[in-house]
């Protein structure tokens, strides 16, 4: 009997295209699992069961008629609830959006899923407007970590992370402005890609920061992540930040090995600029040993200090976020949760000159990164400095929020992938980032896949009843 809960996209595609399983059966199994277990994790804000089953039946009819669209045909997925899908409200996990939030058009990414024949199960929890969380003063509770429900999922794509780890979906979409795809991926033992700025359209996604926003795929394996990026990447003339370039097959380098590849280690991010938790640091060192053993050449690489990137990220992010929210902040501040109010409002007090200079510094950092990466194929650094903390410990969640090395790659616009590196002594996931040159996602996947194949981290499951 097929274990639908933890089926990979790659395996599901074989079974679906071979007519060995039915999209309806697959979808129903995951809907049943959500109904049975999501009250412990709060990963979904809206489960669109009827719409999903209609989509699954349509996929089944096409597949049975010999019209298989590709690896996502008949595969269930979830969207972070800041991404538009016709017929389902986009709430941004906020009271502000509870009314009049039914989109009339799909986001570009939703449209691409639809064309691929994928089945949307629903919309997942987020931090309020992708910034204010984890919060307990919103209309819905925050998502909880399936590896231990007393712990934080990371954010802001928190529900997408929880839904994947819990075996509710094999694919989910997150967004990433300062690390919000890679944080829940790191905390929940998943693979999360923030591709190059411009690689995936942001049209139809509620913005946080125009300069730093990315849409990204979240999955349980590297191969699945590459399959998902194949579907959602592509130029969109209606997104002014979308890159007018073609896309490769992101799975094309999987299985090629990494012998002779040059891998940099941005060690100062997690050893001197911040000191990572010892178990997190050891996970990275062990991963480097694995990659070295596979024939990669590994050397340290030095970039600007971590806080230089963090400050640049926040000046730009808060300025742009405040510009988006200013009218509502003036007229209805009581409709925001405390954390979103506190975080976004900082943008009201940043001077125009500081914002402009932040974007000028960004340009300098991009150029310096380009030069630093000339002699390397990819680089490795920490994602989170610590494993997931307890979600109801407000001090700890606030502290770990800033203890990360993800924001630099939003400032740089460069691709960055969070990959599991094991588990802490308390059974919580550990992770690292593999980062690369702009538009070089396929090389990142090559290295990540080689590492994943040499370990068994992505094969482990959280302790949830079948």
């Amino acid at each position: 009997m097929t274990d639908f809960a933890f089926l990979t996209i790659a395996d599901a595609a074989k079974l679906l295209s071979g007519k060995d399983i039915s999209p309806v059966e697959y979808t129903q199994a995951l809907l049943d699992r959500i109904a049975a277990h999501d009250s412990a994790f709060n990963s979904f804000l809206h489960v669109s069961a009827d719409q999903a089953l209609d989509g699954a039946r349509a996929a089944e009819d096409e597949i049975m008629a010999g019209k298989w669209r590709g690896p996502l045909h008949g595969v269930p997925y979830a969207l972070k609830d800041i991404v538009d899908a016709v017929g389902i409200p986009t709430t941004c996990h906020s009271k502000v959006m509870q009314r009049n939030s039914l989109p009339e058009m799909d986001a570009d990414v939703t449209d691409r899923f639809k064309k691929a024949g994928a089945v949307l199960l629903g919309k997942t929890a987020t931090h309020e407007f992708a910034i204010g969380g984890p919060s307990f003063d919103l209309p819905w509770p925050p998502a909880r970590n399936p590896w231990n429900a007393a712990h934080f999922t990371g954010g802001s794509s928190s529900g997408s992370g929880a839904a994947l780890a819990a075996g509710f979906v094999p694919a989910a979409i997150g967004t990433d402005t300062g690390g919000s795809v890679r944080n829940p991926a790191s905390m929940c033992g998943l693979v999360g890609m923030k591709a190059t700025y411009g690689r995936v359209s942001r049209r139809g996604v509620f913005p946080l920061s125009f300069t730093l926003d990315h849409v990204g795929p979240m999955t349980r394996t590297v191969e699945d992540n590459a399959i998902l990026l194949n579907v959602i990447a592509g130029h969109d003339p209606q997104d002014p930040g979308s890159a007018p370039i073609g896309k490769p097959d992101f799975t094309s380098r999987l299985g090629q090995g990494i012998k002779g590849m040059r891998i940099g280690v941005i060690r100062h991010f997690f050893e001197t600029d911040m000191d990572a938790d010892p178990e997190m640091a050891k996970g990275i060192e062990d991963a480097l040993d694995v990659l070295r053993g596979m024939g990669a050449e590994i050397r340290d690489i030095t970039l600007a200090p971590l806080d230089h990137y963090a400050a640049t990220n926040r000046v730009i992010l808060l300025s742009e976020a405040y510009a988006i929210h200013e009218k509502w902040f003036q007229e209805r501040p009581e409709d925001y949760g405390e954390l979103a109010r506190q975080r976004i409002m900082g943008g009201a007090f940043i001077r125009a000159a500081d914002y402009v200079n932040g974007t000028r510094v960004k340009a300098q950092l991009v150029q310096a990164y380009k030069e630093a990466m000339e002699d390397f194929d990819v680089a490795i650094t920490a994602s989170s400095m610590d494993p997931a903390c307890e979600i109801e410990d407000a001090e700890a969640t606030e502290r770990t929020y800033g203890r990360q090395a993800r924001a630099p790659f939003n400032v740089l616009g460069a691709p960055a992938l969070a990959v599991p590196t094991g588990f802490s002594s308390s059974g919580l996931p550990l992770s690292m980032q593999i980062v690369g040159k702009p538009f070089d996602e396929a090389v990142i996947y090559q290295v990540a896949h080689a590492y994943e194949q040499a370990t068994d981290w992505t094969e482990r499951r959280p302790p949830i009843a079948a």
Binding site: T196, Y197, G198, F210, T211, P240, G241, A243, P244, I245, D273, M274, D275, D277, L306, D307, H308, A310, A311, T312, R314, V315, E326, F329, Q330, P333, R341, Q342, R343, I344, M345, G346, G347, A348, F349, I350, D354, V356, N357, T359, R360, V361, K362, A363, Q364, V366, D386, D393, A394, E395, A396, E398, R399, G402, R403, L412, G413, A414, P438, F439
Partner: protein, 106 residues
């Protein structure tokens, strides 16, 4: 001793990183209301009245009236960012534009 993962590193180390300072600043603000600190003359580097004045100048009167602590905290954080961002640019250095001229260059 739950502070800093039970290891006390954050409070014992003589010099905090800016991210750690930011975190400690947040903790003090979150669990020790700013208005109370203001009354007690322990505002430190946060000027409560200046923050509320800036909020009202930005049209955030309702916010200033209802959530003065949030305003002061956001104001203090914005001020701290100004000291953290490293500006070393030449007059001719252009910003990183959102809009692309052509091709895939960032």
């Amino acid at each position: 001793m739950a502070l800093y993962g039970g290891r006390l590193r954050g409070v014992l180390r003589p010099r905090l990183t800016s991210a750690e300072s930011e975190w400690l600043h947040y903790l003090v603000g979150r669990f020790y209301p700013l208005e109370q600190r203001s009354r007690e003359g322990r505002m430190g580097d946060i000027d409560f009245e200046k923050a509320l004045e800036a909020a009202r100048a930005a049209g955030l009167d309702r916010m200033a009236d209802r959530y003065p602590d949030d305003v002061a905290r956001a104001f203090a954080f914005a001020q701290s960012l100004r000291t953290r961002i490293t500006i070393d640019v030449e007059p001719a250095d252009e910003p990183a534009h959102v809009y692309r001229a052509a091709g895939g260059e960032l």
